[in-house]
């Protein structure tokens, strides 16, 4: 029983990271309908930014979060404003955006490889190596802090989208771009800001991850695919959905690893994902 509890606790923590990257993608893909195949690479860039801050200035990954977030926001907004927006002109055809972001992903990954080499790098935080015991289960402190941060970020995103002026503008642009433009919303800036916001959250995820994981150029691949799984499972554009499905995915992985052995956990995750996708689509077409 305690194995299961421990696996559950681990799954919750891993799921937290999946949920956070899922929230970032749900802004870009769910709300803005930009097919972003470089989400994992944005996370990787966030991790490296946090690593550089640690390496050069000795900044704790958790303290670096605001700097990483602002940097990634500017980076993401510029990326959207200069490159991605050009491929969005053709509304029916989204293969261009798909290929563009795949290309950007390869670009970032190999730039990182070129600059940082393929070594695994770590940064330590004041919370590192500390463990919290709750009855039979133990959780490492950085993971717990990340999890709390996740809840805060998700709540902030939810409130931002729901109640603030910017959030309303984002949702309006998402629902009807031309209508939003007619109402005086500068959709171009909104697109850039939303992408920037998504990139910033990916950066925050990266900084959190940095406190207990190591960074290497292709670290994003795992999380990029996972983020899509989370978003499609949770429903497009739903922040709360991303939170729940991220945690479910984490639990599925760790508990699945206990049940069938850790080597086949990826297969389970991917096959479940395909099943969910297909069933969801079937239900949607049936409802009409």
């Amino acid at each position: 029983m305690s194995t299961f509890l421990q696996a559950g606790a681990n799954g919750l923590m891993v799921g937290g990271i999946y949920a956070l990257i899922g929230v970032s993608l749900t802004l870009i893909f769910g709300v803005m309908k930009i097919i972003n195949f470089c989400q994992g690479e944005l996370l990787m860039l966030g991790m490296y930014t946090s690593f550089v801050l640690y390496d050069q200035f000795g900044l704790d990954p958790f303290l670096a979060i605001p700097i990483v977030a602002i940097f990634m926001f500017i980076f993401g907004a510029l990326l959207q404003f200069t490159l991605i927006t050009r491929s969005l002109k053709d509304e029916d055809d989204d293969t261009n955006v798909l290929f563009l972001t795949v290309g950007l992903g390869i670009l970032f990954q190999n730039l990182a490889l070129l600059y940082f080499k393929s070594d695994y790098r770590t940064a330590s935080s004041i919370f590192s190596d500390k463990i919290v015991s709750l009855g039979v289960i133990t959780v490492s402190l950085p993971k717990l802090v990340s999890f709390i941060l996740l809840i805060i970020v998700t709540a902030l995103m939810f409130l931002l989208l729901k109640y603030t002026n910017i959030g309303k503008q984002i949702r309006a642009t998402s629902q009807n771009k031309i209508g939003a433009e007619v109402s005086g919303i500068k959709t171009k800036s909104i697109y850039a800001a939303t992408y920037g916001l998504g990139a910033a959250i990916a950066g925050i995820t990266g900084a959190c991850l940095m406190s207990f994981y190591y960074v290497f150029p292709s670290v994003g691949e795992i999380y990029g695919t996972r983020s899509f799984i989370v978003v499609t499972m949770g429903g497009l554009g739903s922040v709360v959905g991303a939170l729940v499905s991220g945690i479910v995915l984490g639990l599925m992985e760790t508990i699945g690893a206990v049940v069938v052995g850790s080597s086949f956990k990826d297969t389970i995750v991917f096959l479940t994902f395909i099943c969910i996708l297909v069933v969801k689509q079937r239900l949607k077409t049936k409802r009409g």
Binding site: F29, I35, L83, R86, S87, D90, D94, T95, N96, L98, F99, L100, V102, G103, L104, I106, L107, Q109, N110, L111, L113, L114, K117, S118, P217, E221, T225, F228, I229, T232, S263, F264, D266, T267, F270, L271, F273, I274, L277, V278, Q281, R282, T285
Partner: protein
Amino acid sequence: MKKRIGSRQILLLIMLFLVALIPMFIKTPYILSILVMTFYTASASLAWSILGGMTGQISLGHAAFMGLGAYISTLLLMNANFTPWVSIIVVFFVVGGISALLLSPCFHLRGPYFSLVTIAFGEAFRNLLTNWNYAGKGQGLLLPFGDNSLILMRFKSKAPYFYLALVMVILMYLLVKYIDQSKLGYALKTVREDEDTANAIGINPWKYKVIATFISCGLVAVCGVFYASYIRFISPDIMMQDQSVKFVLPAVIGGIGSAIGPLIGAIILTPLSEYLNATLSSIAPGANLLVYAVILIVVILFQPRGIMGWYENSKFKIKLNNWLDKLDGRKKE
């Protein structure tokens, strides 16, 4: 109208003849290996383009089906002494069947969701093979070495592989070209352009997507048989997602949806990438993929229809056609 053999056909044959002569003059294994990889990438990209280009279903998991082909033929060879020549046929039907069966529930998914499903299948296959004892787990399989043998597709020099790859790419090109102009090709292109319209005029999109998947994945598996015979070492790493991207890029850069596009793309990209990989990998790892990415981004931003898209609208094509007509002694009407 009877088709006359004009200067176009003759020029093509001369070019082909010159390419076929290359191994007689260039003995450097390095250059030959670059050419073999070019032909191999072009073949895989052509196979991809049946599903990705013609039918518009962007698959990012083709490397997994290529890997399946390589694994099946290798296991047959190692355990049953099965010749790769027969494996080609077996693999085409088995992998084509498996992929069509697995992907058939997923054809109602549109756009990026289909791509995600192919990624997920690719990763699942890789994960299975990484943990499967019979298939050598993560270490992969080493094909038996030995004397030259045509039956076992095993040669010590590069030249025989060069001809094999050349034949493979020519056959693949002719097949894609044939499908492109056949009734099947038009049905596939209708599905790509508008599924609802296709449905309305009696083309069942689902059925044609299954057919396209069968052919495309089966053919890419055949490329896998060649890959295994040539490299003589396979591991689950060949099924990685970035390998799939390597099949997709030539088609995208050359021009999606035409038979010549993937060929042109591979001829430009692969030698460049192999060269950069060989010269820069020690001092600047990843430089070859960096160049791939930059080319892809530039092409997508400035010429989304690829090199062939540019060529179709350029003055160069008119000039070339005029010149060829003059060679034929035909007058422009």
